[in-house]
């Protein structure tokens, strides 16, 4: 398959006071970090790809298919947010089960698939637990397990580790990298942490004031010194 995972061509999203413009091509199978200051349009970029936001203009293609008018569920995309990924009143197994059947009609063998997915994210035996009894990291892993049983080739992560402590964040990053190795999926991940960019991603989409101002392989990105916004972002690293 030669098609790129994501192509945004001349996409415009109008808000009351600003217009965001996106143009980019993300090759299949990469892990892409999406970075930039707060309000630079990172979440909107993901929303446009996931189908939560319809662009006012332009073309969104995922694996070659035009996405206009396609509801979120019909796109080859799974999404994990920073928080509230799980329905708090339903147990872990049910939450993962939604990845198999959105009306939770589970057939023979589905229980095993759920248990297997939980096992792969290191939560074997957690099926009967309720989300509020889990730690933040465990909850995110359940969301990851759900994405695993859904088998969508594109995974969008909106600051999935932001609420986690540094140790857990590193653990999640490793887990995600392992699963990426096995699945061969494409990952777009919004992050505020230069560490995530440096240790985890193949390339970086950098946004500033509603535009994609840089889209480079990781090595080249880390060496850039020409944009103040990027300097400021990477500068955090030395500051800590």
């Amino acid at each position: 398959m030669t098609a790129a995972a994501v192509i945004l061509r001349d996409v415009k999203v109008r808000f009351e006071t600003t217009v965001l413009k996106f143009d980019c091509t993300v090759p299949a199978g990469e892990i892409v970090a999406v970075a930039g200051a707060s309000g630079s349009g990172k979440s909107t970029l993901l929303n446009v790809i996931a189908g939560f936001e319809e662009p006012d203009q332009g073309e969104v293609r995922i694996f070659g298919d035009e996405m206009a008018g396609r509801p979120p569920a019909d796109r080859p995309v799974s999404v994990i947010f920073q928080d509230n990924n799980l329905f708090a009143h339903l147990d872990v197994a049910a939450n993962v089960g939604f990845g198999i059947s959105p009306s939770l009609r589970l057939r023979n063998g589905d229980r095993e698939r759920i248990e297997e997915a939980l096992d792969r994210v290191g939560l074997a035996g957690f099926g009967k637990r309720l989300p509020p009894t889990l730690s933040g990291g465990e909850r995110q892993r359940v969301a990851l397990a759900r994405a695993l049983v859904r088998h969508r080739p594109l995974l969008l992560l909106d600051e999935p580790f932001a609420a986690l402590d540094p140790g857990m964040r590193a653990e999640m990053r490793d887990l995600l990298a392992d699963l990426h190795q096995e699945e061969g999926n494409t990952i777009l991940m919004i992050t505020h942490h230069p560490d995530d960019v440096r240790l985890f991603s193949d390339s970086v989409l950098f946004l500033d004031q509603g535009r994609i101002v840089a889209h480079d392989p990781i090595d080249r990105f880390l060496e850039r010194r020409d944009l103040t916004a990027i300097n400021r972002f990477l500068g955090q690293e030395t500051g800590r």
């Binding site: 979120p72 947010f81 928080d83 990924n85 939604f98 009306s103 939770l104």
Partner: protein
């Protein structure tokens, strides 16, 4: 901290609580002493049991119907964020709460009554037998008119508290309308149901004015109306006491039960910013939602339209220049203003006292008991039938001369007491959050007494106080419960005047007065619930 100031507040709170309990207790005692229930075998006769059965029957049916209607309406409101005029429908649904029951009854009769739109249409369509609004049907209709919007708004508030990520996740997973209802919406609504059902049941079980005007005879009478009839027509205090006891026990048991099984429904944060949802834009779901919303609009809206239409046909100019109307307006103001002020003052004092008592590091049993009594009295006050309080005080004050002289004071006190739970619910959250935010800071800076009131407490709490005051004013203005016993030529409030004009079949006058009273109350209700409309800051 300011120990002496706090002690004074607690002492004042103690007096306030004592005053409330004394006011209720003395009234009950007076009736007991006067009547002496001993030896009467006929107190719990067949009539009482029939009334009790009917009370429970109509309250259960009203609750069930209100909730069954409210669920699809709340769901449609939550789902159809882009429904044209959604915000106006929400505002319309907030109005019945402040509409005097008597005015609503008139509006419902205009629409559903023998001469109403519906029957005229039915007759025109060739149906001979018109439906009658009097009896169980009318009572249910009126209760659903008042409580369906209330229930729907409470459910909507619950649905809007669902995190936005849930809707995105469900859209991403492709959950259908049925799955979303079953796995996301229903669990939320189910959690709210006991609280909402309990509240609606309480309101319907103790309903007085609607049953009095729409019941249409002894076959459809509730305990509250039976108390009124026992006092006003038969002057049979023992029976009134027995009936009151029955009512207090029944509703008290229900309240206790609710305290254990259900959290009180949380008001607030309805309307305003609509959460972005991705479901409900498919043909069938969208059509169903629109039908429900239109039904709700017609059901809630038509009585208002009818009140306005028939009120405008009345000779408003003559009514407004009538001496009796002027006096009724003044009397209403003279009763509603002080009773609203008293309700707000007492509620504020109670909230502050409760907090002070509990905030001490080591509060012992007495403190907890004190705070608990305050909390309980704020909700259990709803149980004391205003008629019984009035009758008790009537008997107590009779030895001191002409009771008519004291009547306004009794009505003011009773109205203040009846508004207390509602005022408490508006003020408590605001005051508690404010205290939590500023208490320690103000204490550490040494800001106390008048200065704290002036600079720290009043500015952020002003709005909540006005809201509470305004709401209490609307409640008191529209009340027929306390005045029903004392109303006379000399003490005629607007609702009383309206009721007596209805009684003497001066329908046009009644319609005009209903419009006037309705507008007055709605103005204060809108002022009193204006907080609902504030738009929340956008998240993410």
């Amino acid at each position: 901290m300011f120990a002496s100031e706090n002690r004074m507040t607690i002492a004042a709170g103690g007096f306030g609580l004592g005053g409330i309990l004394l006011f209720v207790g003395l009234a009950a005692a007076a009736l007991l002493v006067h009547g002496g229930t001993g030896g009467r075998e006929d107190l719990f006769d067949a009539y009482v049991w029939r009334v009790t059965r009917f009370t429970l029957l109509q309250a259960s049916l009203s609750t069930g119907l209100s909730i069954l209607f409210a669920i699809p309406v709340a769901r449609a409101l939550a789902r159809q964020a882009a429904f044209p005029g959604r915000i106006w429908l929400l505002r319309l649904m907030a109005l019945p709460l402040g509409l005097p029951a008597l005015v609503a009854a008139l509006g419902l009769i205009e629409v559903w009554g023998r001469q109403g739109f519906l029957n005229k249409a039915l007759v025109a369509a060739g149906l001979a037998e018109p439906i009658s609004i009097y009896g169980l049907f009318g009572i249910l209709l009126a209760h659903v008119f008042f409580n369906m919007p209330l229930a729907a708004r409470l459910m909507l508030a619950g649905l809007e508290r669902i995190p936005a990520e849930y809707w995105r996740t469900s859209a991403n997973l492709g959950m259908g309308s049925l799955a979303i209802f079953r796995f996301i919406e229903w669990p939320v609504i189910r959690g709210l149901l006991p609280g909402i059902a309990g509240l609606v049941f309480m309101l319907c079980a103790t309903s007085f004015t609607l049953v009095l005007t729409l019941g249409g005879g002894p076959a459809a009478s509730t305990i509250e109306v039976a108390i009124y009839q026992a006092l006003r027509f038969d002057f049979d205090p023992p029976r009134a006491i027995a009936l009151s006891g029955l009512q207090v026990v029944l509703t008290g048991l229900l309240l206790l039960l609710l305290k254990f099984v259900a959290p009180p429904p949380e008001e607030g944060e309805t309307s305003g910013r609509a959460i972005r949802r991705f479901d409900g834009c498919q043909g069938l779901a969208r059509l169903a939602d629109r039908i429900w919303l239109t039904l709700a609009l017609i059901f809630v809206g038509t009585p208002f339209a009818a009140i306005a239409a028939s009120g405008l046909q009345a000779d408003l100019a003559r009514l407004l220049s009538e001496h009796a109307v002027h006096r009724a307006l003044l009397t209403s103001a003279a009763i509603a203003l002080p009773s609203a002020a008293i309700a707000v003052a007492i509620a504020a004092l109670m909230i502050r006292t409760q907090r002070l008592v509990l905030s001490r590091r080591r509060h012992g049993m007495p403190a907890r008991f004190f705070a608990g009594t305050i909390g309980a009295s704020m909700s259990f006050i709803l149980l004391a039938p205003p008629i019984v309080l009035g009758a008790g005080w009537f008997l107590l004050l009779r030895p001191f001369g002409d009771v008519a002289r004291f009547a306004p004071l009794i009505v003011i006190a009773i109205n203040a007491l009846m508004a207390l739970p509602f005022v408490h619910r508006v003020l408590a959250p605001a005051m508690v959050t404010h205290a939590a935010r500023t208490e320690r800071l103000a204490a550490s800076l040494g800001i106390g007494g008048f200065h704290r009131l002036r600079w720290i407490d009043w500015p952020p709490l002003r709005k909540a106080f006005f809201t509470a005051f305004s709401f209490a004013l609307a409640l008191s203005l529209g009340d027929l419960g306390a005045i029903a016993l004392f109303g006379s030529q000399d003490l005629a409030t607007l609702p009383w005047l309206l009721y007596s004009r209805m009684g003497s079949y001066r329908t046009a006058d009644a319609a005009g007065l209903a419009l006037l009273l309705g507008i007055l109350c709605l103005i204060f209700t809108v002022l009193g619930t204006a907080g609902d409309d504030r738009t929340r800051g956008s998240g993410t």
